[in-house]
Amino acid sequence: MTTETNPNPTLSRRSLLAGASVIGAGLVAAACGGPKSTKLTSPAEVNDVSQATQPNVGRPVTIVPAKKPSADDVKIAQLAAGLEVLAVGTYKAALDAAGTGALGEVPPAVGEFVTVAMKQHQEHLDAWNSVLTTNGAAAVTEPNAQLKPTVDNLFAGVKDVAGAAMLALMLEQIAAATYNSAQAVLTDKDAIKLAGSIQVIDAQHVSILLYALGQYPVPDVFAKVDLAVAPGGAPAAPPTVPAGTMPPTE
């Protein structure tokens, strides 16, 4: 028996296509805030996402050679970037629709949520693309191809803030589940940490959307992975907006 068993069939190694880039240094750069970061002083600091994401820490740094990531790590980085492109694009479309009045009156808290969530997803995208480009792979600029048609179809039916929030909820749940599921596949220490640090934020987006939609903000005892997307594949469970999630009117 080895430690490489995969307890999560959603992201089976067998399902991953062969990739071939060394992305460890890129992961370090991404975890350090992307292109603005410079050096790391020790392997421990390489793994310290908090230092990486707080540019005011001001610690001197030295690049430390990272363990060569696997092809799976590359595929996960590409998958993650594609999901982030989709999230950014969807939030941008929602903001545009709100700007034209197509969604009706937008509560201030909802507008704030969309603005900040979109910005954070852009930072996540930048982090993953930094990983890819630093190591010679192309940056991902297109949304996840498996989900894009579904999201477009659902967005066409969005007529109000609640509808937009439900679509956002679906995307955030997929993203959080994917990052959670990726923990069973990732091998690079920095990739593991980066995926985990983003999973947290996306799960928190989920909680606030649930509250806004009239639901309990922490519905699960253990985070679910049934909506996780695998590289080149669709979610284990088809992405749909569940019925009955509209907040009751008073």
């Binding site: 307890p7 923990q183 987006h205 509250y211």
Partner: protein, 289 residues
């Protein structure tokens, strides 16, 4: 008449009951999965013991030591200055060496210690008059969250034993005295919310920091799934904290009052784009000594 009945205008009890039932189902499912894998994990534990794998990485532990100073100041702020930094500093002395040298086991034991403390903290909070007789959503949140932490403890304990380790039965040695010292200072809901948020942030960041230290993938996946829930507790507490000035807006469902929420409520729950690990507990902190 119970407090919940008296305040039913702002609490959907049926929805909460359904939530609890669903959570119990999830728990059963999780235990089923855990039981299915325990035999394999036990074999793995034997393999690990024979090979002596996974001694703690000193460089990783040093990084956590460096974070302690930051943690002291942040906790001091979270507790409203009720606890002096000097009083806290003594608590942050380096722990004694752990009895079990397996890093995976130490991580899981520390996780159990944090879960046990969280359970105790929510249990204590529910005895406070301004909590138990206060906003019913906060009461229900404390009850449900305490139950969820209990499930997390059970899962981490099972995994500890599956890897051949000794189950931790004590609350976290670093934070237990901090919580005990804080209890007399808890005079209003905001005090409790801040303390609970601190514990949830410590748990979230500890589990995040632990992810890439595991050699056992099953343990890592379990920890990620728990981290994904602790961070939601934290998000909810941050949002509740921001709304305590308008408690009538702390209700489920929020309904049409969504329009009344202050702008900040839309982002207060996730102040950073990436979660940090500055408040993470090191693996040996709650290990069985």
């Amino acid at each position: 008449m119970s407090m919940l009945h008296r305040r039913s205008h702002s609490l959907d009890e049926r929805a909460f009951d359904e939530l609890i039932e669903e959570s119990q189902d999830l728990h059963s499912d999780a235990l089923g999965v855990a039981n299915d894998t325990l035999a394999d994990l036990s074999d793995f534990a034997s393999d690990r013991r024979r090979s002596g794998v996974a001694a703690p990485d000193p460089s990783q532990l040093e990084a956590f030591d460096a974070s302690r100073t930051n943690l002291i100041s942040r906790l001091g702020l979270a507790l409203g200055g009720a606890l002096g930094v000097g009083a806290l500093s003594g608590i942050f002395a380096k722990p004694a060496a752990a009895a079990d040298g397996d890093l995976d086991v130490m991580i899981l034991q520390t996780a159990v210690s944090l879960e046990l403390l969280a359970i105790a903290a929510y249990e204590a909070a529910l005895t406070l008059p301004f909590i138990k007789d206060g906003n019913p959503v906060i009461v229900k949140f404390a009850q449900v969250t305490m139950m969820q932490h209990s499930e997390h403890r059970a899962a981490f304990s099972a995994q500890t034993k599956a890897l051949g380790g000794t189950d931790q039965t004590m609350t976290n040695p670093k934070y237990t005295p901090i919580v005990e010292m804080a209890k007399p200072t808890l005079k209003a809901p905001i005090d409790v919310v801040k303390l609970a948020a601190t514990l949830e942030q410590v748990a979230t960041e500890t589990y995040l920091a632990d992810l890439n230290m595991f050699t056992d993938v099953k343990s890592r996946v379990l920890m990620a799934s728990v981290m994904g829930v602790e961070c939601q507790h934290l998000a909810t507490l941050r949002a509740v904290g921001a709304l305590l000035g308008t408690p009538e807006l702390i209700k489920i469902p929020i309904g049409a009052d969504l329009a009344k929420l202050p702008k900040a409520a839309g982002s207060v729950a996730f102040p950073e784009a990436f979660e940090g690990v500055t408040m993470a507990s090191p693996p040996e902190e709650g290990a069985v000594k």
